[in-house]
């Protein structure tokens, strides 16, 4: 379960970063990128606290 949440967190980080490169190569516009970044941000902050800072 924890690994699945970790994967979702990393998808959130990916959504924050990757769309910017799609803007750079002209595949999406800046407004779509802003939306995807916000979506990625929400995913990261909802899921990361579940597994970060926890002692193994």
């Amino acid at each position: 379960m924890k690994n699945l949440i970790k994967v979702i967190s990393y998808i959130g980080l990916g959504l924050t970063l990757v769309p910017a490169f799609l803007v750079f190569v002209g595949n999406i516009d800046l407004d779509s990128n802003k939306m995807l970044m916000l979506f990625g941000t929400i995913i990261w902050f909802v899921t990361a606290p579940i597994w970060m800072n926890k002692t193994e």
Binding site: L13, T16, L17, P19, A20, F21, V23, F24, G26, L30, D31, N33, K34, M35, M37, L38, G40, T41, W44, F45, A48, P49, M52, N53
Partner: protein
């Protein structure tokens, strides 16, 4: 029952303030890599990168100056702080007490606390530029020293009060939140910069260098700003954390390292925060300048919002807040060390009030480069004193740990060394026009030499007075 449990939990917390770290409490590489990456990707990065642009740094000067300056900073952590940290395994404050005595340490704590207040204040101001976006308040400009609108004052007060109240409840939760935010913030910095490259005329990698020189880091300072060269960038990158590495404040962190060379883990902070994030925030600001025809308005919030939307504005608020919050808390602790009977929350409230008042003045943000350099310069002499005390004094048959050995709460050599170094720096600044960024290096040699000579004279006198016993 609950109270007893809470008390036992509090009692079980052992930070080894006055004893060396035991072997079983040492930490591996991973802890330091993450800690340095998080600590150096913060609110200040939204200000420093743009200020380089405002000061007319050229593209090659920036990229090369940051590369070399950051290497020197990493080497300072690895070769100066790391070896002493693992040799002694005690905090800077405890080591200063042994060498310099309580009185000098008290002054150190006071200056440190004041510097922390100003640093936190600038971060509250940075957060306020993002919080103020929906209210359309007038943002400060590069040449503003005083608050420029009622709206600005109200927003800063709100951000400052909230930050202080959270800091009053302790450090732990904020620290955890900062850890979570750190990797995301790095992504936002990179993404925001990459996404606006087409608006700056960069449509392929091959176009980057031309536009970097012609549009981003043009080499021409904005109106009212001094011109920065390669050397400014190099020395700023090296010395912006001077208090931490050469000044030895990070002994408190690296004392947990298993090996001295864990100091190299600072490279994550230097190259993610002080390279990539500074370059990225500079790109965002150059777009703002292009679109505003070189407006002198300076507000990281709207700049990040333009590039990355709500995620960018949130990033500015969180970056400013996660830097300001622990800084207020640390300033409170530094003050509390002077009088331990003061309640932590009361001290933190007072520190928060000072910090929030300071944040009202935009000068704190606009002069952040100079302030950070001054902060390092003020505390650096302590690092020189520690190096001399540990490595050089024994070679001259002089006693290390003066205050502990001679049972004195004041080491005149340390005080002399500190005062003369700062007076020499002031002299070179006023009479020879040497900028604050370049004073740290000669200052270190002045501090070392004065400490060595004055220790020789003072210890000889003491030994004679004590009947020749050393």
């Amino acid at each position: 029952m609950f109270k007893q449990k809470l008390l036992s939990q509090l009692n079980s917390v052992e930070e080894y303030e006055r004893t060396p770290i035991p072997e079983n409490k040492l930490k591996g590489w991973k802890s330091f890599i993450g800690m340095y990456a998080g600590e150096h990707t913060a609110g200040t990065e939204f200000v420093i990168g743009p200020l380089f642009v405002a000061h007319g740094v050229g593209a090659l000067d920036l990229l090369l100056g940051l590369f070399i300056g950051n290497i020197l900073a990493v080497f300072s952590w690895a070769f100066l702080t790391g070896p002493i940290a693992v040799k002694k395994r005690i905090t800077l404050y405890f080591l200063l007490e042994k060498i310099c005595g309580n009185r000098v340490t008290l002054v150190y704590n006071l200056i440190n606390a004041l510097m922390f207040c100003f640093l936190a204040g600038s971060m509250i101001a940075v957060s306020a530029t993002a919080v103020g976006i929906p209210f359309d308040i007038a943002m400060p400009s590069l040449n503003d020293w005083l608050p420029n609108s009622i709206g600005w004052i109200v927003i800063v007060l709100i951000v400052g009060i909230v930050t202080t109240i959270v800091a009053m409840f302790g450090y732990n939760q904020i620290s955890k939140f900062a850890n979570i935010a750190a990797p995301w913030m790095i992504m936002v910095f990179i993404a925001a910069a990459v996404a606006v490259l087409p608006d700056l005329g960069v449509h392929s990698v091959s176009e980057f260098w031309t536009k970097a020189n012609d549009v981003m880091w043009t080499g021409t300072p904005l109106e009212g700003q001094s011109k920065f060269s390669f050397w400014h960038v190099l020395f700023f990158a090296w010395f912006c954390n001077m208090a931490m590495h050469i000044g030895m404040a990070d002994l408190s962190i690296l004392r947990y390292a298993k090996k001295w060379y864990y100091g190299f883990s600072s490279a994550t902070g230097m190259y993610l925060g002080h390279y990539i994030a500074w370059v990225a925030s500079g790109i965002l600001y150059s777009l703002f300048l292009l679109e505003s025809s070189n407006s002198t308005e300076f507000a990281p919030g709207p700049v990040a919002y333009r590039a990355a939307g709500l995620a960018g504005a949130i990033c500015v608020v969180i970056a400013g807040w996660t830097t300001a919050n622990p800084t207020i808390y640390r300033a409170g602790l530094a003050l509390q060390a002077i009088k331990p009977s003061w309640k932590t929350w009361k001290v933190t409230a007072i520190v928060g009030a000072i910090t929030t008042s300071a944040a009202l003045f935009p000068a704190l943000v606009m002069k952040l480069l100079e302030f950070v350099a001054l902060y390092g310069l003020l505390l650096m002499p302590m690092g020189a004193i520690i190096i001399m005390d540990i490595y050089i004094l024994p070679k001259f048959n002089l006693q290390s740990n003066f205050s502990e050995y001679f049972k004195k709460n004041f080491n005149p050599s340390a005080a002399l060394s500190w005062i003369i170094t700062l007076l020499a720096a002031l002299f070179f600044n006023i009479f020879f026009g040497v900028e604050v960024f370049f004073l740290g290096l000669p200052g270190w040699f002045v501090a070392s030499l004065v400490y060595l000579i004055s220790s020789k004279i003072i210890q000889q006198k003491l030994n004679i007075a004590n009947g020749g016993a050393a």
